[in-house]
């Protein structure tokens, strides 16, 4: 670590620019809105993120000017000069961490973030609440950058909670729609469960390492004794608890239920938060703490299995969705599962690689779907689309690039990262099988989406057909840039760049020649399957549907997760507390007492009445009973 004055300042500037944008918009938003030039707020928000991106690129270049330290790692820890929390032997400074991993994340966040900000200028042009929208978007970017740049777990957690808050605000952005407000609340509640795990995990990490600094943790994790399968030492407990947090944020089983509902938010939000950046925070955290996870076989196995199962389950659900955004949402859940699978088999760099390629193609697909929805005047049901290829050609061609990338067609970005994941899973035949099969399903449902939307005849009626229009350039340029990224992004060797961060040696993954071939074949099989079922011979569909009816019913019901949770919440939590606390104690006591006292007026005699109602006696009896229990315990021999 060399002394580079610029590197001490740049990361803070990157962070604070979007925050500044938020503050300006929050304080002067009304004033900007009153101004006739109504896109001022939008462009201000874009500018902060684009400049941040420029600075992030500059930072990355400066970082690579540094001499690599032990293990080939270049890193830098800018420090603001203040402590956040401090207590005997425990300190949380305001410090950041700039290393290859945070550089990759920072570039993804600001890069994709810039494009989505620009896209939003067009997409939200007619929404009257644009100023709050862009201020939330800026605030989100700030918290996301804090999450990936934070030098210790608590700071990372601030970012983690902050992005959750913004996500909640943006999902519920169209709150006059009840479903949107409900989805926002659901996202927040589910994430709180994950966050509970994260806080506890943090406490355990502190007691295992005596520090919450990310560099300290990575450096010292190697000295912990390895913990085998079903061995619950400190590292395993900490890692598993932190993983609970990751499942919440990154929508993995069992906390994945919020993400599909989150599609109620504006589409650029889905692209930025629920595809490219925030939902990948869990993957980032697991990779960032890779050395810790590596100590525990149980934790690694859990991560891999949860990832693989989620990937498969979400892919099957995506097969039967008809809402274009929901297909993409389940696809995101599935791809995140892939990333965890990679981390779980020890290939953290590959997980990050897939995160990076996924950011391109999934953002592209979401923005493309936004463009489709824009063209369809808000319609999201694919059964009412069709034949859009001719009407919105730019959208179609860029969307095609994204589809090929996610399907894993050779030389598109997704091909490389998916191939690396499968190669890393070579030692685990079951996981590998799930991975390959999921790849086939992915190709199938994406091709289905493409065929239903862009091919065939238009099914939306004349009125809608009349309104079809290509999106403005401000929306198309980000699509084109992302399409280029989706096509060529795979050639950047991310795993090699970030590998030193994990302190696990060179991490080369042995490749076998048949694997890319098998992956490509399964992708092609998926696409061909969709081609026959949805374009060439749609009459086959009915027969297949009846054959697989029980399975399809499960897919359509999303494996009943929501029903089980709703049932649990309604039956146990709400009714339980209703029964015991509201009606049993509260309602009866309060209403009873109030009603009775309400009929009484003045004078000492009547003032004694509340005593006679028995409620005060109940209180006293409870105090006495509590005292008996308490004293009884103390004196128990």
């Amino acid at each position: 670590m060399l002394d580079d004055p610029l590197l001490k300042i740049l990361p803070f500037a990157i962070l604070l620019l979007p925050l500044g944008g938020f503050v300006v918009l929050a304080l002067f938003g009304d004033w900007i809105k009153r101004d006739k030039e109504e896109t001022g707020a939008a462009w201000l928000a874009c500018a902060t993120v684009i400049i941040s991106f420029g600075l992030a690129a500059w930072t990355t270049v400066r970082l690579y000017g540094l001499v690599a330290g032990e293990g080939g790692l270049r890193f830098f820890q800018p420090y603001l000069g203040y402590e956040w929390m401090e207590a005997g032997g425990f300190s949380v400074p305001y410090s950041l961490l700039v290393d290859p991993l945070s550089c990759v994340m920072m570039l993804v966040v600001t890069g994709v973030g810039s494009l989505i900000h620009v896209y939003s200028v067009g997409y939200m042009a007619h929404d009257e609440d644009r100023v709050p929208y862009f201020s939330y978007l800026n605030l989100f970017t700030f918290f996301m950058l804090l999450l990936v740049l934070g030098g210790n777990l608590p700071l990372m957690f601030v970012g983690w909670e902050g992005v959750g808050l913004c996500s909640y605000l943006l999902i519920g952005f169209w709150y006059r729609k009840d479903s949107a407000a409900a989805a926002g609340l659901k996202a927040f509640i589910v994430n709180r469960i994950g966050d509970a795990g994260l806080i506890l995990g943090m406490i355990f990490v502190f007691h295992a390492f005596g520090s919450l600094d990310l560099v300290d943790i990575a450096d010292n994790a190697g000295s912990l004794a390895p913990e085998g399968l079903w061995e619950f030492g400190p590292a395993t407990i900490a890692a598993l608890l932190l993983f609970v947090g990751a499942t919440g944020k990154s929508a993995q089983i069992p906390l994945h239920v919020w993400l599909p509902d989150a599609m109620e938010g504006p589409t650029p939000v889905s692209a930025l938060i629920h595809a490219a950046t925030m939902v990948t925070a869990g993957v980032y955290m697991v990779a960032r703490l890779g050395p810790l996870y590596h100590v525990s076989e149980t934790a690694m196995m859990t991560v891999a299995v949860v990832g693989a199962v989620t990937a498969l389950m979400a892919a099957t659900i995506a097969l039967v969705q008809t809402d274009i955004k929901r297909v993409l949402a389940y696809s995101t859940v599935s791809q995140l599962g892939y990333m965890f699978l990679a981390c779980g088999v020890g290939a953290f760099g590959v997980g990050i690689f897939h995160l990076y390629t996924h950011a391109f193609f999934k953002a592209l697909l979401f923005l493309g779907s936004g463009s489709v929805i824009h063209a369809m005047s808000g319609e999201q049901d694919m059964q009412r689309m069709g034949g859009l290829r001719k009407r919105i050609p730019w959208t179609f061609w860029t969307f095609l690039a994204g589809t090929l990338a996610i399907a894993g067609i050779p030389f598109f970005a997704g091909f490389f990262s998916k191939d690396e994941i499968l190669a890393a899973a070579l030692g685990h035949p079951v996981l590998l099988g799930i991975g390959l099969f999921t790849a086939l399903l992915t190709a199938f449902y994406m091709a289905r989406l493409l065929f239903l939307t862009f091919f065939g005849d238009f099914r939306g009626g004349e009125e809608a057909e009349h309104h079809l229009h290509e999106s403005p350039w401000v929306m198309l340029v980000p699509l084109i840039l992302l399409a280029i990224g989706s096509a060529a992004g795979g050639f950047v060797k991310i795993p090699e760049i970030v590998q030193p961060v994990f302190r696990l040696g060179h991490g080369h993954i042995p490749h076998v020649a048949w694997l890319p071939v098998a992956a490509t074949l399964s992708a092609i099989a998926g696409i061909l399957g969709a081609y026959y079922l949805y374009l060439a011979m749609p009459e086959l569909r009915a027969g297949l549907a009846s054959t697989f009816r029980p399975a399809l019913r499960v897919f359509a019901a999303k494996y009943y997760w929501d029903d089980v949770y709703n049932g649990f919440v309604r039956r146990v939590v709400v009714r339980g507390s209703d029964l015991v606390l509201w009606q049993g104690v509260d309602n009866r006591v309060v209403d009873g007492a109030v009603n009775r006292t309400a009929t009484i007026t003045g004078a000492l005699a009547e003032m004694l009445r509340p005593l006679q109602t028995g409620f005060v006696r109940q209180y006293a009896l409870l105090i006495l009973a509590g005292a008996v229990a308490l004293l009884g315990y103390l004196l128990w021999p």
Binding site: A603, A605, Q612, Q618, L621, L624, A625, V628, L631, G632
Partner: protein, 165 residues
């Protein structure tokens, strides 16, 4: 059993029985009169413990002052006098259980504790109490005056007529 023991049992029984009457009597006036015996009983117990000053104060203040005030209050307020109190035994079961629990705990504690016996002749405690009030417990003694003031203000405010509020 010595004579002192007999006296103790007499006073203790009087205290407990009259206490029960206070709680269970259907008329406030009975309760108030029963309270008289409770106070007497307690004063007697104080005497047995050699707390002469406390016993005298108990009689002077509680019996001579508070109780008389209470009786006047009850008698002069005809509506209270007529009021039939609902001393329903709604929570008798749980109440008994809890009371039994308290009794067992205290009896148990009293039995297993080895009580130190002070071999001291009964002596007037007045001087000692005075010394403590102006010495070791000066703060508590003085602060009690604030307590009384606060109680006065609070009481005055609560019984103030509504239109002033």
């Amino acid at each position: 059993m010595t004579a002192a023991d007999y006296v103790f049992w007499v006073f203790a029984t009087a205290t407990v029985v009259s206490g029960a009457v206070v709680v269970f009597a259907r008329s406030l006036i009975y309760s108030a009169f029963a309270l008289l015996f409770t106070f007497f009983g307690v004063a007697g117990l104080y005497v047995l413990l050699g707390a002469d000053f406390l016993a005298a104060t108990q009689l002077l203040i509680y019996v001579g002052g508070i109780l008389v005030l209470l009786l006047f209050g009850v008698m002069l307020t005809h509506r209270i006098y007529d009021l039939k109190l609902r001393t329903e035994k709604t929570q008798l079961g749980p109440g008994l259980i809890v009371a039994a629990g308290i009794f067992i705990i205290f009896a148990n504690a009293a039995l297993i504790t080895e009580w130190p016996t002070v071999g001291r002749e009964p002596a007037p405690t007045t001087k000692e109490i005075g010394r403590l009030f102006l010495g070791e417990y000066l703060l508590a003694f003085e602060a009690a005056s604030v307590l009384l003031l606060v109680a006065l203000i609070g009481a005055a405010m609560i019984v103030r007529r509504k239109k002033d509020a």
